[in-house]
Every structure is written in C-alpha cells, then in structure tokens.
Symmetry: C2
Subunit: 391 residues, 2 copies
C-alpha cells in the first residue's frame, strides 16, 4: 500500500445495479457493508481467509493485491514464506480456450507474470479435454484458440519461457515419463473420490464431467510428483466459484498424503471484473468486454458507451459526485492501470464531483488505445517466439 491511496476505494464489492440506483445518495456504505458482510460469511463458512492482513507482509505486492481485487486465500502463509525466504514454489493455473482473451482474463495473466517475476515456477494448463468434453468443440480448434488467444497474449503481457511449463491436457508436453506420471495421477485419484462427493460439488454428473474433474485434480497436484518438482508449495489463483473444486483437490491431496506426500495447494481468490454494461463479462457478448485483439478505435467506442456510476446530468454530478464503485469504467482503471496515484486521483475526483463521466471515458479510452496499440505490437513479436513454449 503506497501513497496513502484509500484502501476503501478498492475494497468494495458492488455488483447489483438496481439497489444502488434506488439510493440516490453518495453514502453507499450501509449497502456495501451488507454485501461485504455476506461475502465474509461465505468466506468464513468455507474457511477462506481475508487477504488484506497478508498483503502488508508481501515484499512487493501486486496492485491487484493492494486494491483488494485479490481478496481471499487459503494457506497463503506457505507461499509468503517461500517469497520471503526465496524458496521454490509453483504457481499453477488453467485456461479454458474459448472465445476472445479479454480484460477479465488479463487479471489472471497479470498474476501469472507477477509470480513468475518473483521466482515461482509457472504451470499453465490448457483445459482442452475439459472444453472438448463439456463444450463439444474440436481439439484442433481448441488448440488454435489456446495459442492465438491465450498463449500469444500471455507472452505479449510479459510471460517468459524460462520457468514456465505450458501444456495441453490432451497432450502433456515434456518427456514420456513426465507425461505418463501426469495421466496416471488423473486416473488413479479417481479411486479416492466417491460419486456422492462429486455430485454434491458438481451437480448432475456425466462420464465426460468426471474425467474432466479428475484431470483438473491432476493439473493442480501433478507439479508435486517426483517426475516434476517433488512436493512443493503450490499456489492456485481462482475465482470464488472454483473454490469447491479447490476443496476437493485439497481433500484428495490429503488422501494421497502417504503415497505422494502432497502439500495441500494454497489458493487466492480474485474478484471478477464486471462487463461494460454491468453484470457479467460474457464471451458471447462482445459489447460486454474489451478483447486484447480488439481494434483500439472499436475498444474506445465500447468505453464511450459503457455503464458508469455517474448521475443523470452534469449538474447533479457536480453536486453529488459519482459512484466509482459502481462504474464499469472505473473498473478498467482499477483492474488495469498500475499507477496507484492515478487511480486514487480518479476515485477522489469522481466522488467529489470534480470528474465528469464524459471526460473520464475519453481519458480511459485513450489509456486503453495506448495499451492496446502497444500490446498488439508486442503480440507480433510474441507470434515469432510462441513455439518455444510448446516444446
């Protein structure tokens, strides 16, 4: 936390448009605290801990941490210990190769690159078997999407080959010995899970779903096999909706404690960036997101018509100020501008009425245009080297 930026500005969790619109007041705390309370309850119920007390202990926390976008964790102490004492650890995450890579995905990519920089070994899994089984796409198309939309964007954002194990579920790269160990794990963990246990987590089951879940478990745990890193602290950044899966994986890890000496994987929980029209950012609605391959001018237009937290007219805005917590444009700033001072200034200017939505949108559109142009230039370079990641 630097430069006295208000933590509060980053710790809101406002997703329900109607309620805020009803209250035409700048005082949003009562509503907000209720939401936070609900969230806290959910976290307590499942044993997810607040990330805030941890942030201060991290030597150089990412702005996603400082701003409360990463808001919860399990067993992060173990990872913190590795960071502080320069011990080896793994950061593992998966990608579902469907649709365009957008600003929502970038938040996870930023974390991958952050952890790689501070020394974590990255395991990056393309969940193509899961996508194939559950979404009926062809493996060829999934592979193409994984490379074009994900891998190339990761590289352009700063992912390095060294210290990164990028692989497909359908084709574990590396030596046969490693590949076998990965698949073997996916097949043998199934012995330790009951049907009812899976149904409680995943609802209606199908053979394809069961196979996909078992592969996910192997994705998270296999870096700890002797053929890979041996037992090692592993961090998995997820959304809160994926926590049941994390719990199952941790349970399975414990059941194979004797066989593999797995260390239960740690996890962090990241807030979702909302869509530009409020609500969910949806791959099936291009106006709800900005893809990293969007034409910069088109992206600017999307910003200009995004849902804000502003008042009905300039007069009211000047008088009462806006509600940045509710603004999807402010989300772009908060999730993607790395300058705390800038984000803090925007927040205060908005709340005080000093900043008008139109101006703010233009500024954000310019910010995004610069970012996208630069990023798309980097994508061209990335395309020249991505094959190294597939070796």
């Amino acid at each position: 936390m630097t430069d006295g930026i208000k933590k509060k500005a980053f710790s809101k969790n406002i997703t329900q448009k109607k309620q805020i619109i009803k209250s035409d007041s700048m005082e949003i705390d009562p509503w907000d605290s209720k939401e936070v309370k609900n969230y806290t309850k959910l976290m307590q119920e499942f044993g997810i801990e607040d990330f805030k007390p941890v942030v201060e202990k991290i030597p150089e926390p990412h702005y996603l941490m400082r701003r409360g976008i990463i808001f919860g964790h399990r067993d992060y102490q173990r990872i913190l210990d590795c960071i502080k004492n320069k011990k080896r650890f793994v950061m593992m995450t998966g990608l579902m190769p469907s649709g365009k890579f957008h600003l929502g995905h970038k938040t996870i990519a930023d974390q991958i690159i952050y952890y790689q920089k501070i020394g974590a070994k990255i395991y990056l899994c393309v969940a193509d078997v899961e996508a194939y089984n559950m979404r009926m796409a062809s493996l060829e198309k999934l592979r193409e999407t994984a490379i074009e939309e994900y891998l190339i964007n990761y590289i352009a954002l700063g992912l390095k080959r060294r210290g990164c194990d990028f692989y497909f579920q359908s084709e574990r790269s590396g030596k046969a010995k490693k590949s076998n160990a990965y698949y073997r794990l996916a097949t043998i963990v199934s012995r330790a899970v009951t049907f009812n246990e899976m149904r409680a987590i995943y609802g209606e089951l199908s053979p394809g779903k069961i196979i996909s879940v078992m592969m996910q478990v192997s994705d998270i745990l296999h870096p700890q096999l002797k053929e890979f890193e041996k037992p090692i602290p592993t961090l998995v950044p997820v959304g809160i909706d994926q926590d049941p899966h994390l719990r199952l994986t941790r349970d399975i890890a414990a059941r194979f404690q004797k066989t593999f000496r797995f260390i239960p994987p740690s996890s962090t929980y990241t807030r979702f960036m909302r869509g530009l029209k409020g609500g969910k950012m949806s791959s099936s609605d291009p106006s709800s997101y900005i893809a990293l391959t969007d034409n910069p001018e088109e992206a600017a237009k999307k910003i200009m018509s995004a849902l804000t937290g502003g008042k009905g007219n300039i007069k009211e805005q000047r008088e009462y100020g806006g509600v940045p917590e509710f603004c999807t444009v402010f989300d772009v700033w908060k999730f993607h501008a790395d300058d705390d001072k800038l984000v803090n200034r925007i927040y205060n200017e908005c709340r005080s009425g000093e900043r008008i939505c139109g101006d703010c949108k233009k500024e954000c559109a310019e910010f995004l245009k610069r970012f996208l142009k630069e990023h798309q230039r980097k994508r061209k370079k990335a395309r020249k080297i991505y094959r190294k990641f597939l070796e």
Copy 2:
C-alpha cells in the same frame, strides 16, 4: 478338425455339477442341449455368431478353435480376410495383474501366440489402473505381478518381442506422442457416453470405475489411431461376460467414425476352463487351479484329487463309462493337449468304460509334470529377456 475327432466331444458346455450328478446316466444330451440352447439364445440376443462355420475357413485353425473352446464371434470375417490375404491386423487383449497365472490364463496366452505366429500385431495391455482403482492394490505390486506372473509366462509359452506392444495403462510405453494419443483417447471418448448407458452395463458406478471403463475403451481402439497402426481390423478375444464392454466399445467406435475412422473391433468368445473341484477356477483358491509356477509334484497331487466325471466304483465305470464332458481332468486334456488324436482317444476310452479315472489322472499328472518342468525351464530363459518387452 482332423482325424475324425468327434466334434460333439468338444462342443459341450457343462458347468452345473448337481444336475449331472442327479442323472446317473450316460445320456447327457437332453440336459446338454438345453444348456446349449440357452447359450445359443444368449448369443442370438446379443448378435454373437457361432464360430463353428468359421473354423473350417481358417487355414490352420488352433485346437481351441477346432474343439469349440472358442465358440462365438463378432465380425470375424474381417479377421479371416486378413489371415487369408496376408493383410495386417491387430490382436488386442488385456491382463488383470492379480494372483497366479494358471491354466485358465494359458488359454488366452495360447491365442495371443497363435495370432502372433500367423502375422497379427499384438497389443498386450496390463490393466493396472483398473486393478488399482477397483482392487485397491499398489501400482508397484501390480507391476511386479504383471511381469513375474504374466509377461514371463507369455514369453516362456512363445510370445516374441517382435510384433508385440506390451504396455501398462499407468505408463504407456513408446514415444510421448503415442503415449499422449492413447491417454487423449481415453479422456475424450467419455464425451460420447451417457451415464445411464454405462449404468445399464456396469451397474453401480464410481468415478474409479468410469475411468477404468474409459481406459479399456482406449485400450481396444487406440491401435487404430494415426499415431499407432491407423485404422486396422482388430481382434479382441474375450469371455462372454465381457461382451457388454465389447458392445459399448463398438458403439463408441461408431460415434467417433468421423473423427478417427475406426473399424469396429471384432471379437471371439472363449469358454472358461472350470476349476479342479468343479465350478469356477478361482485365484483365491489354489486348489482350484494349477499355476504355471506350481511345483510339478504339487500340481500332480492337485490332479490326483480333482473332480472327475467317473462313476462311484470301477465296476460301474467299466459298465457305463465316464462322462468326460463333466470331468475337470478331461478339461486339462481338452484345453491343453495339442494332440487331437490323443484327446479323442481319451474321450472315447472314457465314455466306453475302457479308461479308469485313477489311470487317467496319473497320465494327466505325468503330462502336466512334463509340461511344467519344461515350461519352468523356459521361464528361466524368459527372465533374461523380458526387459526388452518393456522398452
């Protein structure tokens, strides 16, 4: 079929001890034909065809074929065409590495070696993942059993390295590209199967069972992948109890027709050799079987106390003759003596009362002692070369 050996002698399917004991008559046809009729009905219901008409068309049929021990098939025409026209085909089978390798297992081994000799490429799968998931053994122990009890016996019986792909489900040997293709198939076929379909075949399901079934499907179909042999006629010899699995695999093959151009696997159905005390040959009861590693003298003792189809005393035996169809000692002759003349003579001598059980047992014990001594000598040589099969 040579030397006028009575086909009838080899086409019986008598497994129910009590019924035959009640009828103290040599006339067993009424009972037998009822059994055969039931069998035929079962075969018709599931579309399994009689193997008898095929046998005559096979250039050099194995005695297991000539004697009706292999009694049914699906799509054998395709294999016959390959045999006759020297076209490539695959013979695929799996082994469950549990307990001792006994005379019952030898019947499948004999078929493997027969097909290898006449030119088939052999795929030999150790179903260790299935054993691990369903029988709670350790993979290390399973591997040891697979090598010591199965592979070494196969080699001693005549299996050659050339033209044989011996592999473990848990660790597909060969290049990573092949290994990946095998596991990928196991994971993606699950998309084409519903839960209810599997439940109808396998009853109560568990995640471990589902994974095991999907791997079995991949075991049977993967030789046809482009990374292996490309689409190719494949023969799978099974027991009738495994037919539902064969049907599922053939259905799945058809569902992936467009993707992989699979040729539906052909199958043959082999009768089970009964245990030495009648009933099932059981791995958990060493007195019910003769293991190929049994001390020859011990094996001889087992034969001396085996259940026969003889009468209560020598007088009755001389007068009415015995019932070889019901005799477990005759089973040893029928399943394992390759000399048709000998087996035919034993059958006729028994039925006519010329042969007495005590003499027959002694002769059989001697036959087995010779076989086991010779086999165990070959096992020593096999132990020196088995590693080549694991490369």
